[in-house]
């Protein structure tokens, strides 16, 4: 009986083998942090690794359409929607945002250095095969409807999907 269990355990461990994969939780909705996540993911795809980005909480702002409007229902969610518009055009810097001045200057500098914008990173990431996952729990809490999000998203999922992917990844990051 015991050797059957051991064989099962071995089979289970074989399946759990770590893959050549990067899993990143994009929790922040700030321009600089989001670009860091995209940089790592595109780099990973370029060296043959799989890459999945899980967008949750403020990170969902990256996936919001710039012209989505406020589709939230209920006054609290609606208020949150007004304060937290989201969209790639509105992502602030994590430092020196200065009511948009600092972010405007940083974007200008990045363009001068031919650094891709978040929108360009999204297109490139899609081409390279990065997987985009939107967290359904935070979508629910914040009143973000699927219609308000961009079409690049591969799936809508929860923490178990993240953990299952994280378990088989060799690189795991929380940004």
């Amino acid at each position: 009986m015991e050797h059957v269990e051991a064989a099962d355990e071995l089979e289970r461990l074989k399946e759990r083998k770590t893959k050549n994969k990067v899993t990143i939780i994009v929790f922040s909705g700030e321009l600089d942090k989001v670009l860091a996540a995209f940089n790592i993911a595109t780099g990973a795809r370029s060296m043959g690794m799989d890459a999945t980005l899980f967008f949750t909480f403020w990170g969902l702002n990256v996936l919001k359409k710039n012209d989505a409007g406020n589709t939230a229902k209920g006054w609290m969610k609606k208020m949150l929607g007004w304060m937290n518009k989201g969209g790639t055009d509105r992502l602030p810097l994590s430092k020196f945002h200065m009511h948009g001045m600092g972010t405007w200057m940083m974007k200008k500098l990045m363009r001068e250095h031919k650094m891709p914008s978040v929108d360009e990173m999204m297109v490139l990431g899609k081409e390279l095969g990065i997987k985009f996952v939107a967290c359904t729990i935070t979508m629910g809490i914040m009143g973000i409807e699927k219609e308000a999000l961009r079409p690049e998203i591969d799936s809508f999922a929860g923490v178990v999907t993240y953990l299952a992917e994280a378990q088989e990844s060799s690189v795991n990051l929380f940004i």
């Binding site: 595109t42 780099g43 043959g48």
Partner: protein, 79 residues
């Protein structure tokens, strides 16, 4: 270093990390196994990144030429 003869070139002038590597990965797929690619880059990070990329992808890193902001990196497609 002896000058290496490249079969193809890739101009990444002015591009920042990770774009030179992204473009290299795409370019090398168009080439034959055994052919040499020359990548022109102004990103100093390429000096460390390209050998690391070659190790990770199973291609051969042949070396780098140049200094002071402009680098020519040579790699051979093996994988």
């Amino acid at each position: 270093m002896e000058t290496i003869k490249a079969d193809a070139g890739l101009d990444c002038f002015g591009l920042l990390c990770p774009m030179p590597i992204v473009k290299t990965a795409a370019k090398i797929k168009e080439m034959q196994v055994g052919q040499v690619l020359e990548v022109l880059s102004t990103d100093e990070g390429i000096i460390e990144d390209m050998p690391a990329w070659c190790r990770a992808t199973g291609n051969e890193y042949l070396g780098v030429e140049g200094s002071g902001g402009e680098y020519k990196v040579y790699i051979r497609r093996l994988a």
